[in-house]
């Protein structure tokens, strides 16, 4: 195994260590190639392999399409070179795109607190403040080679040194199990920020924030951010889970929304306890599409897909929706 060189037609060159991802190696060399999600979901980082050979590190990446091989398109975020290569990206920059100034950090676990059944809040301290937008996420590496996306639950302010993630343990799945096993004092390597689901500064008429399960994590950051900025438009949170015990951090949302003149929350559960007076079902059942509002949607993929279909039926265009689906 040797270090390989990557050359771009625009003249830039950088080295990639054995097993290192091309996108990360470029960033570490100050060469910013296109990207957005950082893990192989969106396809924004695809580039054309002009010369050389590469190894794909995550063959299950959702963004990989059958026609990629024919067009020699590779996901730079999940590919490492095995020879020197020449690569043609769509753009190259010497500075990061504004909300995606990704940094490598090593945090220290402060707490890993139980919130509900199979649900925890992981608190991580950084050696110095980090900047991100409310709604963005980090790629954490709780064990070597296990890279997973978790959205910050903490509002970013103008830079924070302590961040937190609300997450679920999926038994038998190594990423969340490794996170669950972290103890105070453990180091946690992370890269951040990633993602396009972040609150804009100029929300015109109002926003609807839709959270399914641990999708509440970025929604907590968004509500905190909007409350800190004192926005005057509609801020409607729709938060759903299977059972009431899983609607964790709802009190934090209620508190944040209480500070806003047009803040409100709808909680929805599929399996209601006796005496439940709220809506029953999924977030889709509690969501009235309004084409004048902007939508931010976070949750597991089936829930996000259902919300997108529901919003489409209700006449809300994709230019008014941002979403992240993990889990």
């Amino acid at each position: 195994m040797a270090t390989h060189r990557v050359a771009l037609p625009s003249g830039e060159e950088f080295s990639v260590a054995p097993g290192e991802r091309i996108l990360a190696a470029a960033r570490r060399a100050g060469v910013w190639l296109p990207f957005e999600c950082g893990w192989g979901s969106c396809g924004t980082c695809k580039a054309t392999l002009v010369e050389g050979e590469v190894e794909l590190l995550f063959p299950e990446a959702p963004a990989i399409k059958p026609r990629d091989a024919r067009r020699r398109r590779i996901l730079t975020c999940q590919t490492t070179p095995i020879t020197d290569v020449v690569l043609k990206p769509t753009t190259v920059s010497s500075s990061p795109p504004e909300p995606l100034a990704v940094e490598d950090r090593v945090g220290t676990v402060v707490a890993n607190l139980d919130l509900g059944p199979g649900l925890r809040r992981l608190e991580v301290e950084l050696d110095r403040p980090v900047r991100y937008r409310a709604g963005q996420y980090a790629i954490v590496e709780p064990a070597p080679g296990l890279r997973r996306c978790y959205s910050m639950a903490t509002p970013p302010g103008s830079g924070v040194a302590e961040i937190a993630f609300v997450y679920r343990r999926y038994p038998g799945r190594p990423g969340s199990s490794a996170l669950w096993a972290l103890r105070p004092g453990d180091p946690l390597p992370l890269e951040l920020p990633y993602g396009a689901m972040w609150i804009r500064d100029d929300e015109p008429t109002g926003v609807v924030l839709v959270a399914g399960g641990t999708g509440v994590s970025p929604i907590l950051a968004m509500v905190g951010d909007l409350a800190a900025r004192g926005v005057t438009g509609t801020v409607h949170v729709v938060y759903g889970a299977r059972r009431v015990e899983e609607l964790v951090c709802a009190d934090d949302l209620v508190e944040g929304l209480a500070a806003l003149p047009r803040g409100r929350i709808t909680l929805v559960v599929e399996d209601p306890p006796p005496g439940w007076s709220g809506p029953v079902g999924t977030v889709v059942d509690a969501l009235e599409p309004d084409p004048d509002l902007r939508y931010y949607v976070a949750g597991p993929p089936p829930m996000v897909d259902a919300v997108l279909a529901h919003l489409d039926d209700g006449g809300v265009g994709l230019d008014r929706i941002a979403y992240d689906s993990f889990g």
Partner: protein, 122 residues
């Protein structure tokens, strides 16, 4: 008023661009998506999404309905017309195309304009 000159570039043979498929190509420095629709018509559009400049040829495509979904954020376009389906009203720039002797030519208007539309959204 003089008509804009069009510079024609040979891009593909029809043996490369099968009916029901599309390919992308750089024409005079501009990324272009060339699609061979079922039924035989050939069309050419801007090669990057009007939203955030993701390459449209990296997206998903249903040849029966001629709908293309951009891989970036699932924006939808009808490749028979270039019109945006979701969001509506965001249309792809369309290049002139001709097919002669089994070869597809894309026309680049010599008008000094950028040949792509932008529709920023959330």
């Amino acid at each position: 008023m003089t008509a804009t000159t069009i510079e024609w570039h040979a891009v593909f043979g029809l043996d490369e661009l099968w009916e029901g498929d599309f390919l992308d190509v750089e024409v005079a420095g501009e990324p272009v998506l060339v699609v061979h629709l079922l039924g035989g018509e050939v069309k050419a559009y801007q090669g990057v999404c009007p939203h955030q400049e993701v390459m449209l040829a990296d997206g998903d495509w249903d040849e029966e309905s001629s709908v293309l979904w951009c891989g970036g954020h699932r924006w939808e376009f009808d490749l028979r017309t270039g019109e945006g389906i979701n969001p509506a009203g965001c249309t792809l720039y369309e290049y002139p195309v001709k097919v002669e002797d089994e070869t597809v030519y894309v026309g680049v208007p010599q008008d000094g304009q950028r040949h792509y539309n932008r529709c920023p959204g959330t």
